[in-house]
Symmetry: C2
Subunit: 148 residues, 2 copies
């Protein structure tokens, strides 16, 4: 009896997830967009290289959940900004190792506290109990999705 003949969209999980992600993402995007004029793929590339150091475009895509065309275009953009440099890989001439330049590291260093701050503001409005629920809920869905 789970499937009635009507659907309450505002209680439907896929819709709620999307609504949520859109709202949060839009608010956070304003930070890196207004401060540095970055797009979301560019921000993710910056964040991934800042976190892991040198890596290839494919690895960036895996760690940041981005399609390779998004990565490719973001790499071009950050390279033109001189925030990123490509180095040929002696072991595999198909790939290039990507790393942030000093300017890139500097921008990353400015953005990280803003990111943490944004997250803190979000969490600070909740009770401890709510925070646990958010984290546990996220973990549960992530687990289910991996299995799928």
């Amino acid at each position: 009896m789970s499937g009635g003949h009507r659907l309450e969209l505002e209680n439907f999980l896929p819709y709620r997830f999307n609504r949520l992600a859109d709202a949060v993402s839009r608010d956070f995007a304003r930070i890196y967009r207004e401060k540095f004029g970055l797009t979301r793929p560019e921000w993710r590339l910056l964040a991934t290289l800042g976190q892991y150091g040198t890596m290839t475009a494919t690895a960036v895509g895996q760690h940041s959940s981005m399609h390779k065309t998004k990565v490719s275009r973001a790499v071009t953009a950050l390279e033109q900004r001189r925030w990123l440099r490509r180095t040929p890989d002696p072991n595999d001439r198909r790939v290039e190792q990507l790393a942030l330049t000093r300017a890139g590291e500097s921008a990353y260093g400015e953005l990280v506290p803003l990111a943490h701050g944004f997250e803190q503001v979000l969490l600070a409005r909740m009770s401890e109990r709510e925070r646990s629920s958010v984290l546990a809920g996220l973990a549960a869905i992530e687990r289910v999705l991996v299995d799928a």
Copy 2:
């Protein structure tokens, strides 16, 4: 001590929300895309009219969190499919009342059980405790976002 100088993207809330919504959305989209060739805006329009009956384009946008251009284009698409009909509003000649045709209701009737089924599969993989966390976590974030 909240803002370190590094950011773990995979633990960063906006990133996790996006990743989650993308994955769930992509899986569910396959259902209405493969079965009826609907886009997401079209599905949302169908779901909103199916749930609420007759309403204007602006009201659809409010209830389904869609920009008015998305609604406008989805209305055109469903109208050409003969799933939707527009009726002039005698009280306000700027708007038209939108409603599903019998064919539209029929498609809606087919999709609702699939939507519920999809949601059930997701929830069935969790423990009762996890399900409560998901719902409580969603509610908490939605509350916080409304305040903001």
